[in-house]
Structures are given as structure tokens and as C-alpha cells.
Symmetry: C2
Subunit: 143 residues, 2 copies
DNA sequence: CTGTATTCCTACTGTTTTAATAAGTATAGC
DNA sequence: GCTATACTTATTAAAACAGTAGGAATACAG
């Protein structure tokens, strides 16, 4: 399925914040450098996540972002809805069409409902854990 | 989820052909009139469905379209793939990102797999049947 | 109280995708 | 040969997307 760059970058940013905030905030510059995403682009995405109450910002020098709640309480649905309401929303376009209505009932509604449920069941913690597993498979070597 | 007008019009056209082909072919003009879709637009969509071996065309006067096989053998996945390969395809954009890989594994891959399976399980017959049910609920009155 | 590091806001721009239209060609029945 | 149809290719207008730019607001440090 087609996912916008904005949604993908948004999720990546949140996972980055989750991993790298050790009792302190994470800045746009940090995320940008680590994840190779334009800082100006992030400056457009992160405020949307703040408005959706997924992250909290600290302004001024030594400012940055932190998650508003534990990673296991932030679902991917929260994030996707905040950044692109069309992904999990309705989809039929034609009106006044009985056939379109039938397609909607047999197909789109069920697909949308599944996507909503599924994204509700996956949290930022799941992504972070998967990442830790992968890292364990490819261990770092120290000199 | 976002579905293109092309996919929706394509499915509507096929259901129309399924319903209205009584041992004969259905023309673009017929579909256009019944479904309120521009004939010129349909002329762009139907050839794609023919190339995907979902419908067969008869050229010349008295020409038109018919399904290549029974409606219960045409899945919605066949149709969606024929008209828009991005709907059921891969979705991650960022490369060289461990986090993007983890998101893909935890989220996109599973979602895509579900959508493929589900659309594989729904056929044109299902839509046509649902339509017949709805019509029965709202009976026509004859004078 | 000034400098600096940061978030925040709004607008802009170039590219791609989408939706639809247009014009004309090819085919086959009558 | 006329007509009704499918077929092909090109074009256009609008919208969405991805990313950029400039500067305002904020708060900490010295």
C-alpha cells in the first residue's frame, strides 16, 4: 500500500526519540543527523505530532522533544492518523452509485476496519524491540 | 485508505458487465450511461482490464465487452493489481534505515499481506450478490 | 541584557500523480 | 461504403506530495 514519506519519517523520528532520549530531550538536529532526514522537513512533521499529543516540546536553548507517554502506550494508529488522515479513512469516491455502495460494504469498509484495528495493536515499543533484536543479530565490535 | 477513481470505476464497470451481459456484449456507451462515468474515461480503463485478461473485447459494430470467466473466478485482487499496482505493493521509501526496516517488518509487510489475502478472497460475484440483496430490500414498484 | 540554540509558523516552489478530455485510427457488421 | 464500436496516443488541468526558505518566538547562559 502507498504510504507517504511524511508518515514514514514521522514514525522514524518517534522511534529515534524513544531510543535516544535518556531522561532528556532530543533535538531536530540530532534526529536529522542520525536518520538522514532534512531538518527543515522534520520541523514540519514534529509540530503535528505535538498537536496530536504524541510528543511534548521544550522551547529555547537546550530544548527538544520527548514522548508524552511510554512507548508502549503510543500506537501506530495514533501516529498515522496524526500525519495523514486518508490512510485509515474512508475511500469511496462515487456517490449515488449502488454498485459503489456494494463495493464499499464488501471491500473498503472491511479493509479499513482491519487496518484501524491492526495499527491500533502495534506500538512504538514493538518497533524499538524489533530494532534491538536486529541489532543483536548484527553485534557491534569494540576494539 | 486512499483508492483511486480509476480502481473504483474499473470495479463498477466489471460489476455492470457482469449484471448486464445476457449472452451478449456490453458497450462502453451502455456502462457510461448506466453508471454515470465518462465514456472517454472508460475507454482508458477497460483496455487495461482486457490486457489483464479479465475481460474480452469484440471489435466493430455490435462489439463490446464480456468477462473472460465466471464472476466467481474474478477476484478483486486481480482487478486492483491490473489498474493500480501500488495499492497492494510494497511501501517503504527510505533506504539504508534500520528503523524503516523494522517498521516494514512490524507494520507494512503485515498490512500488505493482509490486503492481498483479503482482496484475493472477494470476487465480482460477491459484489453482484450484495447488490441483489440490497435491491431486494428496496423493491421496485410497478404500476 | 545580549547572544545563541532551539522550536514554531507560514508561505513558497518544483515535481509527480491523478483525472479526465481530445482526436484520430482500426475493425467489422450491415 | 456507412456506421458503430473498440483501440491508441497525446494533451491538459488540477491536486497532492516532498521538500525548502525565511523569519518569529522562546528560553537559557553568561
Amino acid at each position: 500500500m502507498r504510504i507517504s514519506s511524511k508518515v514514514e519519517c514521522g514514525i522514524i523520528s518517534l522511534v529515534d526519540i524513544c531510543i535516544y532520549s535518556n531522561n532528556s530531550v532530543v533535538t531536530v538536529i540530532n534526529i536529522s543527523a542520525r536518520q538522514n532526514i532534512s531538518a527543515k522537513y522534520l520541523e514540519q512533521i514534529l509540530p503535528q505530532l505535538r498537536q496530536a499529543d504524541i510528543i511534548r516540546s521544550v522551547k529555547g536553548s537546550h530544548g527538544g522533544y520527548v514522548l508524552t507517554r511510554p512507548a508502549e502506550k503510543i500506537t501506530l494508529r495514533d501516529v498515522i492518523d496524526a500525519l495523514d488522515s486518508t490512510v485509515l479513512g474512508e475511500c469511496s469516491i462515487r456517490e449515488d452509485s449502488q454498485i459503489a455502495d456494494a463495493i464499499s460494504e464488501c471491500l473498503w469498509s472491511k479493509m479499513t476496519a482491519y487496518l484501524q484495528d491492526f495499527t491500533d495493536s502495534v506500538t512504538l515499543r514493538d518497533i524499538a524491540d524489533k530494532l534491538a533484536d536486529t541489532a543483536a543479530d548484527q553485534p557491534m565490535y569494540y576494539i
